[in-house]
């Protein structure tokens, strides 16, 4: 099959609740190389979190496979560490204990007690949280909680780091700080990252590629944009950079012209019809995966035009 580190192949997801079926994801194909930083962007409710949770193994896909490092994954595990939007630190544990819980579980056999202690501190130092080791989550700010969440994820030494709108709930200044730190960590550790965001600047600044999802229901990958900006990237310098602004506009155009949200249109175009019209990605996954620019489905084009 493919030689990629992480492959999402023909993934489909239909939620069933009683007799209500909702076809959320349709034919998702994505291939990610080791060390790549991928952002997924799309309108709220299109199914971004669902994709990430399928990779994490927390949600089971209805069809398709996820292959990580040549092995199929379908249950959750520490090799795909997740950072949740609402941090999800355990409130009864201190900052140190939250990270230690993960380290003790994941590296319980491979590291000695002293090594585990060092490893917890090392990861908290990466996110500059050594000063609050004994604080509980309720005693630190939202940005600090996210830092600890990131430290906990990094401490598992995951093959892929999954970030679900990690900075979504933060104020602009804190967000910029954390973005810079994530960039620094990524350039040092060369993690493979999949990040969901709804922030265009964040996507362009951090990513090697931006995966743009079409609107749901039956959402799929609309376009993939390569961000060819040299690293390390500096947000102030990039503000005047022509290529940077070009990429921004590409994403904005996709979101607000091609995928404009027009809720009232969709009932007239049932998903089954849209599926028939949608062009299938040619040649499956192997041939030219990362360059494949799948056209937006007919459904959304109609919606956008009217």
């Amino acid at each position: 099959m493919s030689s990629h580190y992480l492959s999402i192949e023909n993934v489909d997801k239909t939620f069933e609740k009683g007799n209500v079926r909702s076809h959320v994801l349709s034919n998702i194909n994505l291939h990610i190389d080791q060390g790549e930083y991928i952002s997924i962007i799309g309108h709220s409710g299109c199914g971004k979190s669902t994709v990430l949770n399928i990779v994490a193994g927390l949600i089971e896909q209805s069809a398709g496979v996820v292959i990580l490092d040549r092995k199929e994954v379908n249950t959750p595990g520490p090799d795909r560490a997740l950072v949740f939007q609402n941090h999800s630190l355990l409130p009864w544990l201190t900052v140190y204990e939250n990270v230690a819980l993960a380290v003790n579980k994941v590296a319980g056999r491979s590291k000695s007690t002293a090594e585990r202690h060092e490893w917890v501190l090392y990861n908290l130092e990466l996110v500059n949280m050594l000063h609050a080791l004994n604080k509980r989550p309720s005693e630190i700010s939202g940005g600090m909680k996210q830092r600890v969440g990131i430290a906990r994820a990094l401490a598992m030494q995951p093959k892929v780091l999954l970030l679900d709108e990690p900075f979504g709930a933060l104020d602009a200044l804190t967000r910029a700080h954390l973005q810079d730190e994530v960039m620094r960590i990524h350039s040092n550790l060369k993690n493979t990252v999949m990040m969901i965001t709804h922030d265009v600047d964040e996507a362009v600044l951090l990513s090697d590629r931006i995966v743009m999802m079409t609107n749901g229901p039956s959402a799929t990958i609309g376009e993939i944009l390569h961000i060819d900006l040299p690293r390390p990237r500096d947000r102030i310098a990039l503000a005047d950079d022509l290529r940077y602004n070009h990429y921004r506009q590409e994403v904005l155009r996709f979101l607000y012209e091609k995928q404009r949200k027009l809720e009232q249109i969709s009932p007239r175009h049932p998903p089954s019809q849209a599926q028939n019209e949608r062009p299938q990605p040619v040649g499956g996954s192997g041939s030219s995966p990362s360059d494949a620019v799948v056209d937006a489905p007919a459904l959304q084009k109609v919606s956008g035009a009217s």
């Binding site: 994490a56 959750p76 595990g77 520490p78 999800s88 355990l90 579980k105 994941v106 598992m156």
Partner: protein, 289 residues
């Protein structure tokens, strides 16, 4: 309460700004604390005792006034731990005997109640089956269990303990199961990503996450068991504060009864505070997130 303490804090900061020394502010704070927390109950208590004294001092009064209660029971108050054999022991022993029964019955209720609560909270099937049963059984009044447990155990002491157990277990089960069902999905996901096994999940996620609920069940449970023991002991006899009250009634020692009621109230309050305090220590952080 809250507004009062903020005012106190503001006063303190005002004092600090004027450079008044720290010991002085500490004393101020202590005085405000005393005024706010001890003065009102003391005033009310004196008022109530005064009214009681007035109402019961007349010639036709059926109940003794507080002054007479104290003089009648002075010996009981002075020596709570005398032992003349049989049922003729001091109030301290009576209370301890009751507390011992409560301790045994309540401990069983805690273990079994939390276990059943976890089962009901975890499994939808168990909940569907057991919840209606629990909802019906929990409305049975404590004393209604006594005859059936006497028939079963053929002995008064285990019967009393069983009544405690069966009275206090329902709020523990129900609160625990609600707590388990309310564990945020995120915590479960953390556990799944870390691949915690069943036992680790139970100790590291489930118990701490549900602890605030469990402790509110435990607190209701301990109150109910203290209610039940006094009633049950009135019927089964032997040493215990409940039977002491019954005995005093039969001997027309109304003052003894009143003294016993004061003890029962104080001990019940103490039990409630103890469980609440334990809960605060254990769940520190959990509820505030």
């Amino acid at each position: 309460m809250k507004t009062l303490s903020t005012t106190a804090a503001e006063n303190v900061s005002v004092l600090n700004r004027f450079g008044i020394n720290h010991a002085h502010t500490m004393w101020q704070r202590f005085k405000t604390y005393l005024l706010q927390n001890f003065l009102p109950p003391v005033v009310i208590l004196c008022l109530l005792l005064g009214v009681w004294e007035l109402l019961c001092s007349g010639t036709g009064a059926t109940l003794p006034p507080p002054s007479q209660v104290i003089s009648d029971t002075w010996e009981l108050i002075l020596d709570p731990f005398y032992d003349n054999g049989g049922n003729d022991v001091g109030m301290g022993w009576q209370i301890l005997a009751s507390l011992e029964r409560v301790a045994v019955g309540y401990s069983f209720a805690v273990v079994v109640g939390v276990a059943l609560g976890v089962l009901v909270g975890q499994s939808t099937w168990a909940m569907r089956g057991l919840d209606p049963v629990f909802q019906v059984l929990r409305t049975v009044p404590p004393l209604a269990w006594l005859p059936i447990s006497l028939a079963g155990f053929q002995d008064s002491n285990p019967s009393a303990i069983f009544v405690i157990f069966i009275t206090s277990i329902w709020p523990i089960i129900i609160n625990t199961s609600v707590g388990i069902r309310n564990i945020p999905e995120d915590y479960r996901n953390v556990a799944r990503v870390l691949r915690l096994n069943g036992i680790e999940y139970f100790y590291k996620i489930m118990l701490p996450a549900a602890a605030p609920y469990i402790f509110s069940g435990l607190r209701i449970g301990v109150g109910l068991s203290w209610l039940a023991i006094v009633a049950a002991e009135m019927l089964i006899g032997g040493v215990g504060i409940g039977f002491f009250i019954w005995d005093a009634w039969n001997a027309s020692l109304i003052s003894d009864i009143i003294l016993a009621l004061v003890y029962v109230g104080l001990v019940g309050y103490f039990l409630d505070r103890m469980v609440a305090m334990l809960g605060n220590i254990v769940t520190r952080g959990t509820s505030a997130s």
